[in-house]
Amino acid sequence: MPELKRHDNRLGIWGWLGGGRWGMERYAYILHRVTGLGILAYFLMHICVTSLRAWGIYLWTGEGAFLDAPVFKVGEFLVFSAFAFHAFNGVRLILVELGFAVGKPIEPVYPYKSSLHVQRPLFLAMMVLAAVFFAAGSYEFWHGLAR
């Protein structure tokens, strides 16, 4: 019998980036990856920019320096915001992925309670801490800029 053609139904990038009827940990997963990639991109740019010193180019000093342009300030603020989320969510992930805060195996009785419920208070606590850190940092950032 000839092989019938199939349809490749792999979701690909939309599978992790896309929305749907998902839970909050799924959105945290998406945001963790996006912020991680953002921070990585910043890190690479940071290395490039500071390396320019080797050629005597300083983009960040002096009156009206290139990196003082508003677009870079906004970018810096985005990096800070990404860091606030990534760091606190990362602490949760380290704990969870080491098997803490997910609970022991239990008898599944309907309606099922999964490890997601067990780690949820930790998740929410970390998000509150991230929000506080973000608020304090934002104040400092924009206030400092206005000074």
Binding site: L4, H7, R10, G20, E25, V96, E97, P105
Partner: protein, 279 residues
């Protein structure tokens, strides 16, 4: 809550169709299905097949959430057609598609072979050093109820693949072992009768293994049997890390308790009733 049980409401089923002999890619066909309270998606599909289009195909068997055949994407979320009531997830429209992250063979039928191959490759059974005894065990192995509880939850898996379809990691990494096979690694690794831990951990800790999971938790959310594969996977990671740091407690597979007929009856267990057939 749906008050009037007798009331019938029309629901538009937007069903993914794919006929490999004819279609280049899947298309969506809409059917109007009269739905009563309590009716499952599986019953809705039967209504379509019997009354509207007999060419629609899907997989099912037990129609009671036991065989694991009828996993589908229901309104964008994987679930069993037989234990999902239409009114629980749909008002006037319901989309029904094949489980994603697998090739589609026809209409609502995914090819689950890649999942089963990964599963089989991880030796999902009790492994004993003594191969002859494993094939033909001559006695019981000692295990306490507490030891049983360490893995009992993970034994309820019916291999329906809903977790695999929901996993965002599997969506981009076809080689990732996935929640079902990895949960079964944990199920056998903590079984005190088992001696296959080392081999399974090597596979689970490799490139497309357990550390590709970052706890999106979607597998546990969609699992229709409360297996909680995400929990099993995090415990498995812990095992691997402890092993790496040489901090894991070594445990030898438990010994055989006694051969058949050589044990003594626990007086608290009542004798079995007399045989009614073949006496």
């Amino acid at each position: 809550m749906w008050e009037n049980v007798a009331e019938v409401r029309e629901v538009a089923f937007h069903v993914t169709r794919f006929t490999p002999e004819r279609d280049v890619k899947p298309r969506v066909q809409t059917f109007q299905v009269p739905v009563r309270a309590g009716m499952t998606v599986l019953e809705g599909l039967h209504y379509i097949k019997e009354n509207l289009d007999s060419s629609l195909v899907w997989r099912y068997s037990c129609r009671m959430g036991v065989c694991g055949s009828c996993g589908m994407l229901l309104n964008g979320r994987p679930g069993l057609a037989c234990n999902t009531q239409i009114f629980d997830i749909a008002g006037t429209d319901l989309t029904v598609g094949p489980l994603p992250n697998f090739d589609v063979v026809r209409d609502l039928i995914p090819d689950l072979v890649p999942m089963f191959s990964k599963h089989a490759g991880l030796r999902p059974h009790v492994v004993r050093e003594d191969a002859a005894d494993q094939d033909d065990p001559a006695g019981e192995y000692f295990q306490t109820p507490a030891q049983l509880e360490e893995f009992l939850q993970f034994t309820y898996c019916i291999k329906c693949a809903c977790c695999m379809a929901a996993c965002p990691t599997l969506a981009t990494d076809a080689g990732y072992l996935g929640p079902m096979p990895l949960a079964q690694v944990q199920r056998y690794n903590v079984d005190t009768r088992d001696g296959g831990r080392g081999e399974r951990l090597a596979a689970a800790g490799a490139a497309h293994g357990v550390f590709r999971c970052h706890y999106a938790g979607e597998c546990s959310r969609v699992c229709p049997k409360g297996v909680d594969p995400a929990k099993a996977i995090q415990h498995l990671k812990r095992q691997l890390v402890l092993d790496y740091l040489h901090l894991a407690r070594r445990q030898k597979p438990c010994a055989k308790q006694h051969g058949p007929g050589k044990g003594t009856r626990d007086p608290q267990i009542p004798a079995s009733p007399p045989r009614t057939i073949g006496a």
